[in-house]
Subunit: 558 residues, 2 copies
């Protein structure tokens, strides 16, 4: 169990306990645990991508410590949709117990199964669809269609003896979506009429005024850009954005072009989406990348990954001329994607690189080639008014998003005291229509780096930041056991410190003198001698260079 900042009382019978494990205070690693009468239900289990303050980290997982010892009580994991920030941590949870049922729509399960296959886990899955109701232990689940930037997303109503919860997952309310599958506001209305006690609602765009434009507005722009492109067209987007790819396929087809998919995740996901019927591939439009080179430049569209400037993805490699496709004058590159905060420099580097190669780069800064997948403030107001929830818990957002979302709830008449601004680890009990914060666990970040899971600590990341900013100076001295007399050294090595190593000649006599003095005073302990070296070198480098590299002294007895 994690530390409790504020220990919740023992859960009483017929009370529903709700604990967001991840996704509050961050965009990512969404995970919520529901508990009643000894049974647990999990909704979503996603990853968070690291920021620049978390260098070298591959992924960040939710902290499973609250459920780790209770896995036998978990009746299932509902996955609202197939995005990484909702399914990406499933393999790490199933490593602990691989037969917890996964419940989700057809596309969601297909995507999580493909991911689990890479981790050599064959899960126990249970496919559901909108309108369906299922019982899992003390939970009655009703699934509701919602519209998002991936098909087949579901909200879930969780009905218990303690009250009814509605969790939106991620959603928006495109009224003319490409697949005509709208967010089911009729179901929201019906649930609201019956009474929703607690509403967990996506906050990502709560601070964006107005309404997210329809995905359908992008088609004509793509069509026009492709129609006027003199040579090759390369479109980059997210590898799970089936409808965006659909519009590229349609626009290419309408302009007599064929499409080659690039990037492992793009090929895999679109293969799944096409096989299951979510992606409707016009006859003969797809061509294998290996054969695309034979097609004239004005008859081909490449659909790739890398829209966030990821250095190893197709688009960055193209911008650096490290890809088989050599971008040149007359080529058109479309970034049909958002720009996730923190990725700006990387994305602009790619745009500058492609521009320098002579390509025309179309992006959301200069054309309407992207719409968000999340409901803006205007849509959320509709939601609140249709649903009239008793209590609101904004989820999926940084603190500023959660606060903006809570304010929207208040604006529509939800009492301020019934809107809950929670953190990861906040414990909320629901009973008789009253939701109360009853505790707070201290949940941490669980870092994945290579094959290590959870072994990297925040202290390690602090060390990395110092090393990355300042480099290190390592000083090795071999002393004679007993006398402390220097036998070899001081030998000094530095990396990232960036001065000619001969500068260390100036500090070596200082080190020798300091060690001699310490030895003279009877200091024999190598740890104490190391501290002497650290102080001597630290003082010298700070005075001489006004810098603070990591100092790694090693004193060895021989």
């Amino acid at each position: 169990m994690p530390n409790a900042v504020y220990q919740p009382a023992k859960l009483t019978r017929d009370t529903l306990r709700v604990i967001p494990i991840g996704g509050l205070g961050e965009i990512g690693r969404n995970m919520t645990v529901f508990e009643i009468n000894g049974k647990l239900l999990i909704v979503d289990c996603g990853v968070l991508f690291p920021e620049e303050t978390q260098p070298g980290v591959d992924l960040i997982l939710p902290d499973f410590s609250l459920v780790r010892d209770r896995l036998n009580d978990v009746v299932g994991i509902v996955l609202t949709h197939g995005h990484e920030d909702h399914i990406g941590a499933v393999p790490y949870l199933l490593r602990l117990k691989n037969d917890i049922p996964l419940i989700g729509s057809g596309l969601t399960l297909a995507l999580v199964e493909a991911k689990l296959k890479e981790h050599r886990i064959k899960p126990y899955t249970f496919q559901v669809e909108e309108g369906q109701t299922e019982h899992l232990g003390p939970f009655e689940l009703e699934f509701v269609a919602v519209n998002h930037s991936i098909p087949d997303a579901l909200a879930v109503a969780i009905k218990t003896v303690a009250g009814v919860v509605l969790h939106t997952g991620d959603f928006k309310m495109d009224q003319l979506p490409l697949d005509d599958r709208i967010t089911d506001l009729r179901a929201f209305a019906r649930l609201g009429e019956a009474g929703v006690d607690l509403f967990l609602v996506d906050s990502t765009n709560a601070d964006v005024p107005g309404f997210t434009p329809s995905e359908r507005t992008i088609g004509p722009v793509l069509d026009s850009v492709i129609a006027h492109a003199p040579r090759r067209v390369i479109v980059a987007s997210f590898s799970s954005h089936v409808h965006r790819v659909q519009q590229v396929l349609d626009a290419a087809h309408a302009n007599g072009r064929r499409v080659a998919l690039l990037g492992r995740s793009m090929v895999r996901n679109m293969g799944i989406a096409a096989e299951l019927g979510y992606l409707k591939v016009p006859d003969g439009v797809l061509v294998d990348f290996k054969k695309a080179g034979d097609i004239p430049d004005d008859k081909i569209v490449y659909m790739s990954t890398g829209s966030q400037g990821e250095p190893m993805a197709v688009l960055s490699r193209m911008a650096n001329l490290e890809h088989q496709i050599e971008v040149g004058p007359g080529d058109t590159v479309i970034l049909a994607s958002s720009l996730i905060p923190g990725n700006e420099n990387a994305v602009y580097r790619v745009i500058n690189g492609l521009t320098k190669l002579g390509a025309t780069v179309v992006h959301k800064g200069n054309a309407k080639v992207h719409v968000s997948g999340h409901a803006a403030a205007g849509e959320l107001l509709y939601c609140y008014n249709i649903l009239k929830p008793r209590n609101v818990l904004p989820v999926h957002g940084e603190y500023r998003h959660l606060v903006a979302n809570a304010q929207l709830a208040i604006d529509t008449g939800v009492p301020r005291e019934n809107t809950i601004l929670a953190d990861d680890g906040t414990v909320i009990d629901l009973r008789d229509g009253v939701a109360t914060v009853v505790g707070q666990y201290d949940l941490g970040f669980v870092y994945v780096d290579g094959t290590s899971v959870g072994e990297i600590t925040d202290d390690d990341l602090k060390d990395r930041r110092i090393l990355g900013e300042e480099g290190f100076i390592s000083i090795i001295v071999v002393v004679e056991a007993g006398t402390g007399r220097i036998v070899v050294g001081p030998e000094i090595h530095a990396k990232g410190f960036a001065e000619d190593e001969s500068v260390f000649d100036k500090v070596k006599p200082k080190i020798a003198a300091a060690l001699a003095e310490a030895a003279g005073n009877g200091t024999r302990d190598t740890h104490a001698l190391q501290q002497v070296v650290r102080r001597t070198v630290g003082r010298w480098v700070n005075t001489s260079y006004r810098r603070r590299p990591m100092i790694v002294p090693v004193v060895i007895e021989a």
Copy 2:
């Protein structure tokens, strides 16, 4: 002299050579060198702020190698305005020769003098104003008023026997600026009528459609936010943005509040601006920070730095409760500033922190509290049409901005072959109204870190990036000279690698075995033995952890 990728021919008499040293391909470190008949003129000498790929660097300077040996031929440095990206590198150039005349407007010179004072340099300055003409050797300079996000900015027309150049510096065309000092399009028209052979023009906003709104539109928003603020108001902006601060002072005054300035650069710059009459301080509105605590919360406005989320600036410290001013519920924080790409995560961290403390945060995402200082595409079109330059050299921008600006010139009728897409170090000769690219120098980044200038290389930064992402493992072995037998060790230390150090027990026998084998084969050279250690540990860590920390083997003979 730097390496030439494409060596220019020797400069012939009565030809003007133009070499942008910095500012092309980046936003920052603006510097251009003009040469004719043996004399050099420099326009601007600024710094660039590092990106996340340049960890630990404080500043980036232009590469002075083209002028380092010619400083006696430099007739002066024209400073177009007082922003860091135009004046910040002056101290580093004047260190090489401190009597090169600095030419600029009153505010610009006051700001650069204050900066030079910190470097203990007293410069030789020559103050000019709009409309003024001066001769410096073979250069006749005419100064033209331009409007920008700092007062007293100047464009400069450089007239030589080879032709006339107009350099805009940074500018926009606010038609109702706060100080009524508009960009002098009459002068542009007159110069254009007489004939401008080469136009160096600010590209920062060339890819932004339309027109930059007037600075004046911000006043009413500030006024309304301050009028409705229940408690303290904290406004963060750039410390050189005199007109933004003016509007805060005016809005505070109109609402019966006093203003305390926070942050060293804010206090210094506004002191200079007020003394010189650029900032008009309403009677009694300013209050010393030390006395501000005595003023009721609803009667005070704090004007601070830190709008870019800089960790050491006032605003970040407030967000972390590390500042004397403890932000709390009811306080209002206004970020009256742009969001410079790359700073998003830092700024959102500050916004989240302040929101969590209970403050209402107003920023350009939710209110019109910032306008840019640079001309957008619409304004640039006016410029080109009024000026009708023969040749155009877009400056001050990343490659994508330069390309967008060139396209605007072409759209107004400048022949494509007369628009020059250049890099730092491109050599352009102007003669008889014809501008030609005649060479390309290979100019580098000059990094400042602490007191080191230019000693840090790109290889050092690569080491820092590896250390920052992966940490290091250091292995120390003392061997017997002659036999190679291990006397002490292997001793292993790791930082940022993040596993329990006992894991290294597994690799120590492998190292010992590998060294024994090498010694058995007659290897005695410690460098070769170090390579053996590096390979052994590298292979082990990659197989066991799929990671690539820096491996630092040290083999010492004793």
